[in-house]
């Protein structure tokens, strides 16, 4: 059985990188163990909570259920990539202004998913927001503030575009 590490090359937050990975590692393990990126974190381990959200080729995936070896050749973006130059983007600002978190553990996933939602639907209804974010859990229960933050971010993005 050839279970030795393989070398993968991919783009990580805009930079070309390579890494040696065991075939059974998931994407979160790759980011944490090889690149010291801890924004995507495994929480439920089952794809339900969204704390491990990572973008692969522009699409949100569940990092803890994604084999690391399969990002070979892909473009990977994590929460660590500055959204807007060195500053915060509309979604991050809106989450701060609305107090849309307490402990912050789930926040990277919520931010990345909200960006995806607003890219797809710049002016989502509350129903669309709730459906889109149903795979992200906030155990502090900041849901009302999170929904308000998504609406606020939508308005901010509209006024600057």
């Amino acid at each position: 059985m050839n279970t030795v590490q393989r070398t993968i090359r991919f783009t990580l937050n805009g930079e070309a990188v390579s890494a040696d990975v065991p075939p059974h590692w998931n994407l979160v393990e790759l980011l944490q163990n090889r690149f010291a990126l801890f924004g995507a974190r495994e929480s439920c381990g089952q794809g339900l909570c969204g704390c491990c959200t990572v973008l692969v080729n522009g699409t949100a995936v569940t990092g803890c259920l994604y084999l690391a070896a399969l990002v070979d050749g892909a473009e990977v973006v994590t929460i660590e990539r500055a959204a807007d130059g060195d500053g915060l983007d509309a979604v991050q600002k809106a989450f701060i202004e609305c107090g849309a978190f307490q402990c912050g553990f789930c926040t990277p996933g919520f931010i990345l998913m909200t960006r995806q939602l607003l890219d797809e639907k710049p002016d989502p209804t509350e129903d669309e927001i709730r459906h889109y974010l149903s795979g992200n859990l906030c155990r502090c229960g900041a849901y009302p503030e999170i929904i308000e933050a998504v609406r606020r971010a939508a308005r901010m993005r509209k006024s600057t575009s």
Binding site: M1, N2, P23, H24, S134, G135
Partner: protein, 292 residues
């Protein structure tokens, strides 16, 4: 997770050949969301995973053929299916079902073929596609075959696929002019695994006083070990003008005929009562839709 060897064949035939050895520890891997979960839990310990992600692109496509028949490549992701304009046009019940199927990230990665072949009875698309009359095509070393989707399932997490046999394509007849609905009952939160799923597809002749059912297909999931058609409930509707007493007979027939099993989402007794109620609601929901 235990280590394994990861293979990435370039063609579906090559993948099927790699899986044909008869070694049960060599497993296919499509989107991998279910396989990763099972490996993490330790219930699946493969020595080799055969990834299907590098096979021919045509197995990821979705197109509508003659008469609006949908041809869905097994490697199409659930998100591709959800966003497909031809699916929305030819079988809108599929588009509606996907909205509450797992979550966005899982739909972005999970594939149609994997969703069907996993054979977890809590999945949403099997009852919907069976009710619509879908067939699947498979590929193996000897060639392949085409079977009605309902013949894929033989038990809890068990299918009639042979070793080295992979689903290549799903064919779904156009929904219209039939009316269709899929309802599921989740007992903890809206995005939970269902305690019961009910798919209803009705061929109706509309008249002034209401709908007369020419034909009915009712398929349930999550409450039985495999997706199951409910013949007695279908018979209660067939040829009838739908009113409260007809609906009650259909619900009662469903509750008596189904071999309901309990799980962590509800006891068998509870699910049987859900079934009595949800068959009625699903028929009403199908009739309320005017998308033929």
């Amino acid at each position: 997770m235990a280590p394994f060897e990861l293979l990435e064949p370039r063609t579906l035939r090559e993948a099927a050949a790699l899986l044909a050895s008869g070694d049960a520890t060599v497993r296919p891997f499509a989107g991998g969301t279910a396989v990763m979960l099972m490996m993490k839990m330790g219930v699946l310990r493969p020595t080799r995973l055969v990834s299907l992600r590098a096979i021919e692109k045509r197995y990821s496509g979705i197109e509508a053929g003659a008469g609006g028949t949908l041809r869905i490549g097994a490697m199409a992701t659930l998100s591709t299916l959800e966003r497909s304009p031809v699916v929305r046009k030819e079988a809108p019940v599929i588009t509606r079902t996907l909205r509450t199927l797992s979550n966005v990230r899982v739909r972005n990665v999970a594939t149609v073929g994997g969703h069907l072949a996993h054979a977890d009875p809590h999945m949403d698309l099997p009852p919907v596609l069976i009710a619509l009359g879908a067939t699947i095509s498979t590929v193996d070393a000897k060639g392949g075959r085409t079977i009605p989707l309902e013949q894929l399932y033989s038990g809890y997490l068990e299918t009639t696929l042979g070793r080295g046999e992979l689903i290549s394509e799903v064919t779904v007849p156009r929904q219209a002019p039939r009316r269709a609905a899929y309802l599921k009952c989740t007992t903890r939160s809206v995005d939970d695994w269902p305690a019961l799923g009910v798919a209803v597809v009705l061929d109706t002749a509309s008249e002034n006083e209401g709908a007369v059912v020419r034909d009915a297909r009712i398929v349930i999931s999550a409450a039985t070990d495999t997706p199951k058609r409910l013949g007695a409930a279908e018979s209660a509707l067939r040829g009838a003008r739908v009113d409260d007493s007809v609906l009650r007979r259909a619900g009662d027939a469903a509750a008596s005929e189904a071999a309901v099993i309990g799980d962590e989402h509800g006891s068998a007794a509870y699910k049987r009562e859900l079934l009595r109620v949800y068959v009625v609601r699903a028929v009403r929901a199908a009739l309320a839709r005017n998308e033929g």
